[in-house]
Symmetry: C2
Subunit: 212 residues, 2 copies
């Protein structure tokens, strides 16, 4: 796939919209999608061209065809297995995030060092102690770890995961991890996201903009 | 501020790195930052130019100056108040995310309809019933709501928040919300993020790429 990140992100949002349509809404226009996302409709049409989909008609796109084109193009059906490392609130929230499965992310198990959590299940996913990771990575052939441990434990855990054979870390901690070249990190940077949000919307404008 | 989203995102990550430096690491090079993030060092230098910072010397940037330039430029000290709407695992995780405060996001209170949660506090933030939102939005002059309710409840809650005077919704639900023009939504699209992650890293390449 050679789809820019921003396009990919928006295509997922289009899929959320299509998923929420009523059964009788057989078509959807780029204007409608654009309005829901507060973006330009030409942007929507440009994004959809990446799909090589043919479902466009006079009144808009065929909803079902567009939905299945996005699914096919973005590989929702190609399941990727992952472990959640850290069974605190965030790890538990992600384990319960039922939409992940629909979009191709399959959480196989969770890990924590809290004896009260070990042996319990969260949304059907068993919590194992950290020391079991290396063995289970090999046995289940898992390459992806979703890292939700506290900030203080993040680097040490990243080292351990790299040693255990994990190849991809989806990092939810507010830390930049130092990892060997065999491991790729994807930073889920909530702080950066929040700043983009406030920046784009100029929240604070009244206070800081003297031109008014 | 007129900083592109991607730059803003990376500047936050540079701040994480600077925040983790030891006291005696007085300088940091663009090469070191680039290596930690697996990006090009010219990109790092370009991003830092947005700060109009003067802390560059032969061996790199002065760590403290660079850190404080990022803080000043991105407005970490300008606190924005917010409510968390939904005190489940995700809402609780966000309430406990201590880094938010350092980066200018101040969670004042939480809301839920679970009587077992109402009246309790999570990391010092009291949980109120949903019906109290409108009153507290006005009393505390809060404009931002962080939406972490279940998917099924998301649209109805967005309608209620709009009516209550909320102006910005940071949406963690996998739904595209239909809101009046007075409200801006920022979608924290975890599915899109995961797909970017797998797409960028070509996870699955072995299975799907016949050229090898």
């Amino acid at each position: 796939m050679n789809i820019p990140d921003n396009v990919l992100n928006r295509l997922t949002l289009y899929h959320f919209i299509l998923d929420d349509l009523r059964e009788d809404e057989e078509t959807i226009s780029s204007t409608k999608i654009a309005q829901l996302l507060n973006i330009d409709s030409s942007q929507v049409r440009k994004d959809i061209k990446y799909l090589n989909s043919s479902g466009k008609c006079k009144v808009g796109y065929n909803s079902k065809e567009l939905k299945s084109s996005i699914e096919k193009c973005l590989g929702f059906k190609q399941t990727k297995d992952a472990f959640i490392v850290g069974a605190g609130n965030l790890g538990s929230a992600l384990a319960k995030y039922t939409s992940f499965k629909d979009y191709g992310l399959n959480i196989l198990a969770m890990f924590d060092n809290d004896t009260k959590k070990i042996g319990t299940t969260i949304n059907g996913k068993e919590v194992f102690e950290f020391s079991k990771i290396a063995n289970l990575v090999k046995r289940l052939n898992v390459e992806i770890a979703i890292l939700t441990v506290p900030k203080e434990a993040a680097q040490a855990m990243a080292n351990y995961l790299a040693g255990a054979g994990i190849k991809y870390i989806w990092n939810f901690t507010p830390c930049v991890l130092e990892v060997p070249k065999t491991v790729r990190v994807w930073n889920e940077n909530l702080i950066g996201s929040f700043l983009q949000f406030t920046n784009n919307n100029e929240i604070d404008k009244v206070e800081n903009d003297n031109r008014n």
